[in-house]
Symmetry: C2
Subunit: 224 residues, 2 copies
DNA sequence: TACTATTTTTAGATTTGTCTAAATTTAATA
DNA sequence: TATTAAATTTAGACAAATCTAAAAATAGTA
């Protein structure tokens, strides 16, 4: 139908993400905050996105993304995450360095390029942060993820991702080797502040609730 | 100093190329033709590029690129050609398919990304079309290239590049396996139309002057 | 319910890059 | 050299995306 501009792609991606963050209705100001722009600019853009049928928009009533808009958003998210895999696995960037570059690369338009990149990378299912990569049709894995802060003392878990994607947080976790795929056992949970003592390989760390709240895990199972 | 926009980068790249195509002074209309835009638009942009000291521009007198502007242009050309190597060598695209994608990828801004891509690719000196890749300082190899049409019957040559970069021409050459690095011997040159019979491996082809004029070669030397 | 605070939209500008049409300058030629 | 042709620049407009400030609508609260 229409060919979205890079800006339109960014709006749709943001609206898609906000729609899936438990936030009831996606309103103008939440979009403005996420996009680091003004509510007035968002209103302007919402009208354009609505004209092109990527969202349903009624003045003052908030926004709902359409199936069409979702398809655009998932395409961009797919590109973003595949490029992130490329940057970490092939060019050896750290997981806290790749997001900014992927923000640019995700707008390179060739579908064939991303198809071949996907093949070259071995059809990865998750990006370096543990986020699932949509396939060409938009489908992706959704392993039930829960927070390390909800884990129990004495139990063993595998890190599957993070809820805070900020460079600061990712860098912090890297210092402890707390990356997706790594096995963590909870040695002790402090009653006073809910901080925890965890074991990773031979090392023991003390993690604040602030940190454990933002780490996603699944139960450890020895078979694969 | 200033951060060039993608459009400014494209203008500078075009001006740089025109400056090195033997065309005496780079004039407004030649830029307009190359960029597929109007002379009026070019005039507007020349003023901007001049303000930012990437070109020297005097009304009605044409354009000369500055050292600063050349540095910008060479940076873009480096990115363009490295991405072309990536697309052909790593993602298995054909040499006639990569230019369009590289036109987008060349504007991805990270210097560190291109540095690592260069390392990953093994610091290639030439792109898939035989064009030299500038290094980080802007230096590049300039093998003296001459045209196959100026070759002599009975002699053996190695293809080093092309002067026509159109998809049509590149596709045509691919059909015959006439790619950079391939050895060609001229069996016969027809007096009437200067067309030639060439041998590539076991195959013999008849090449029109139109074609041989656009193929760049160097003398064959058995040692390396 | 009435008033106030917050959110959202509108109005009016600005920047970047583009265009067409008209005016101006330079080049070509009779 | 005078006149015509071609190239270039200017003038005025437009689309995309943004902004600030003001107006309008909705939500929160006494
Ligand atoms: Mn990211
Ligand atoms: Mn983006
Ligand atoms: Mn190219
Ligand atoms: Mn090339």
């Amino acid at each position: 139908m229409y060919q979205p501009t890079a800006t339109e792609e960014n709006y749709l991606k943001t609206i898609y993400h906000l729609s899936n963050t438990g936030i009831k209705s996606v309103n103008t100001s939440s979009i403005a905050t996420s996009m680091e722009t003004t509510a007035a600019s968002v209103t302007d853009m919402l009208r354009k996105l609505s004209d092109k049928e990527w969202i349903n928009y009624e003045k003052y009533k908030g926004v709902k993304i359409t199936r069409k808009g979702e398809k655009v958003a998932l395409g961009i998210i797919r590109k973003h995450r595949l490029w992130e895999v490329f940057l970490t696995n092939i060019l050896d960037f750290e997981w806290d360095e790749v997001h900014h570059m992927a923000e640019e690369l995700e707008h390179v338009s060739s579908e064939e390029l991303i198809k071949r990149l996907d093949t070259f990378l071995g059809h990865p299912k998750f990006d370096p942060h543990g986020d699932p990569i949509p396939d060409q049709t938009g489908k992706m894995e959704s392993h039930d993820k829960f927070n390390l802060s909800a884990g129990e003392a004495g139990e063993k878990y595998i890190i599957t991702g993070v809820t805070d994607h900020s460079t600061l947080f990712l860098k912090h976790l890297r210092k402890y080797g707390l990356l997706p795929g790594v096995t963590v056992s909870i040695a002790e949970i402090m009653d006073y502040d809910k901080s925890m003592l965890v074991k990773v390989n031979k090392d023991k760390f003390h993690l604040s609730l602030e940190v454990s709240k933002n780490i996603l895990i699944k139960k450890y199972v020895s078979s694969k």
